[in-house]
Amino acid sequence: MMLKNIYSLFAAFILAVLLILPALVAQTFYLHILILVFLYALLGGAWNILGGYAGQVSLGHALYFGIGAYTSTMLMLEAGVNPWIGMLIGMFLSVSVSAILGYPCFRIKGHYFVIATIALGEIAFVIFTNWQWVGGAVGKHIPLLPPGLAVFQFAGKIAYYYIALSFLVVQLVFTYLMQKSYLGYYFQAIREDEDTARSLGINITKYKMAAMAFSAAFMAAGGTFYAQYLLYIDPESVLPNVLSTQVCLIPILGGLGTVFGPVIGAFVMFPLSEFIRASLGGSGNALDLIIYGLLIMIFAIAKPTGIMGFITEIVRARRSASADGAGQAAANVRRE
């Protein structure tokens, strides 16, 4: 109970800081970084529902991000549909596609499934690159409109900041509630041992598809946000392989199957790569990739629970230390 209170207090404090932050941060560059951190935390959290909770590793998740970005953009350009409506339609389409692909793919297990998801991501990339109606390899520009909440376009970065933050908060609340509900327990049961979960009467395919659907919906929402924020999309920016890689790195670093893991992962990973790029000048030197690669290997070997795992352990250790206080301290002294 104590632990839970500490977490919620801490979360409330962080949220308060984030809410007043734009008033303190004058430089647009930092706001831009924070907006992207929120977006990546949202995407990492989306991946985490399927990969972290239900244990199904998808390395083609850019597909759902791309569907979100392309749906709202094309509906707006071709039919004048409001991007907010477009976002909901994109989420719906993304969930539908995830169901159509998930039903056969979830019959495949383990590595076969992972490779199938890479294949799906690549197929989508090729299709969109060759599909002239959606702009092919060139992509599509979203025309500038008089800014306002109704058209999902704003003059400064502050509005985008609050929208990204609220998307993230919605996703965190959803994940928290999901974790507490029977869904979360079923997902984790499937992750731990599929055969046992099945023998307990859990409909494996149904719940895997549910995890994939939630995951796809949040990815698509992120896709629309990205399109409206940068006002330009092409397959290289919304459907690339590297995006699929990044969205799974975030929860790996932060902590798989935890509510706040992806947030921590995004806050560590994104500024890290920006810092490396800024301090070494220019991109393409790939030092950030080297460091990510090392971090993933280290976490895979030493700490599969990610940074959240560290935090939980430290908090638990503190708590147990204070609980049996003097005795434990005496034991430690004797050991030394």
């Binding site: 799906l120 690549e122 690669g293």
Partner: protein, 289 residues
């Protein structure tokens, strides 16, 4: 050129490429079959071996074929080091940790190559490069033919080693049942390290044969690595004969899709074929159910 000749050319080209795929797939399937871990950095091992051949050509003027023994030895070591440092600690970990371990290695190696060499495409010029045979109007490039022959030889050697020698039987015994093999006095750790060494050495051969006629660049592992997964999954993870057949089939499908439809769609056709195969035969085309 008549349609027949063009079709014949396409089939020959597809089979030649397929031979290279079989070779990279052989390495991956040996590792999977014995250690039961998928090496997501496999394509990047290929990239490393191509860059080693490139460095040797710059430094001492070796052609990739002359570099082959050195590169194979280096890759054998790389495989063993990877096993010792990265794989052994996650041997009994959940599949997620195993996937992320080699996935991290992939990101690391690709970043390292890009950091050292930049993103440029390089070639290793050799006297063989532009030569080709003409068989009834169908052209066969000499380096590609050498690669195909090398692939078949390597395949036969590994197949012979695993099925006919005592060490090979020990490898199979460890793959079959680690505890029982250990009780029989087989050091399973040594066998797993050997499997990683052999798997990486196969890639070393493939890398040199490929560098003889193909570009060397940091992302080369992405293309070949992914096709290798497809080939291995298509043939059935761990099946050596499956990998051979699947490599040739995938090479053919890729070439025919490029010829009959459009080159830009060829990989998506290959991926679609993979999806259909694993959906209807979840253990791969030739894998045992």
């Amino acid at each position: 050129m008549s349609f027949d000749i063009m079709l014949g050319q396409t089939i020959v080209t597809g089979l030649l490429w397929g031979a290279i795929y079989t070779l990279t797939a052989l390495g991956l399937t040996v590792i999977y079959g014995i250690v039961n871990i998928v090496n997501f950095a496999h394509g990047d091992f290929l990239m490393i071996s191509m860059f080693l051949a490139y460095v040797l050509s710059i430094a001492v003027g070796f052609s990739p074929l002359q570099s082959l023994p050195f590169v194979v030895a280096a890759l054998f070591l790389l495989g063993i080091v990877t096993y010792r440092l990265l794989i052994k600690p996650v041997l009994n970990a959940p599949m997620l940790a195993q996937i992320f371990a080699t996935f991290g290695l992939m990101v690391f190696l690709r970043g390292l190559a890009q950091f050292i060499f930049g993103i440029d495409f390089r070639t290793i010029p050799t006297a063989l490069q532009a030569t080709r045979l003409d068989i009834g109007g169908i052209f066969i490039s000499t380096p590609q033919l050498i690669a195909a022959i090398g692939a078949v030889v390597m395949f036969a050697a590994v197949y012979f080693f695993i099925t006919k020698t005592r060490t090979g039987w020990a490898l199979l015994a460890v793959a079959e049942n680690r505890e029982a093999a250990t009780l029989m006095g087989i050091d399973s750790n040594k066998m797993f390290a050997l499997a990683w060494g052999i798997g990486a050495a196969c890639v070393g051969v493939a890398g040199c044969l490929l560098a003889n006629f193909y570009y060397v660049f940091p992302e080369v592992g992405a293309i070949f690595g992914f096709l290798t997964f497809i080939v291995v999954a298509f043939g059935g993870f761990g099946s050596i004969t499956g990998a051979f057949a699947a490599g040739l089939i995938i090479g053919l499908i890729e070439a025919l899709a490029g010829f009959l439809l459009d080159p830009s769609y060829k990989y998506s056709i290959v991926f679609t074929v993979y999806l259909l195969v694993v959906i209807f035969r979840p253990k791969g085309l030739l894998g045992s159910a």
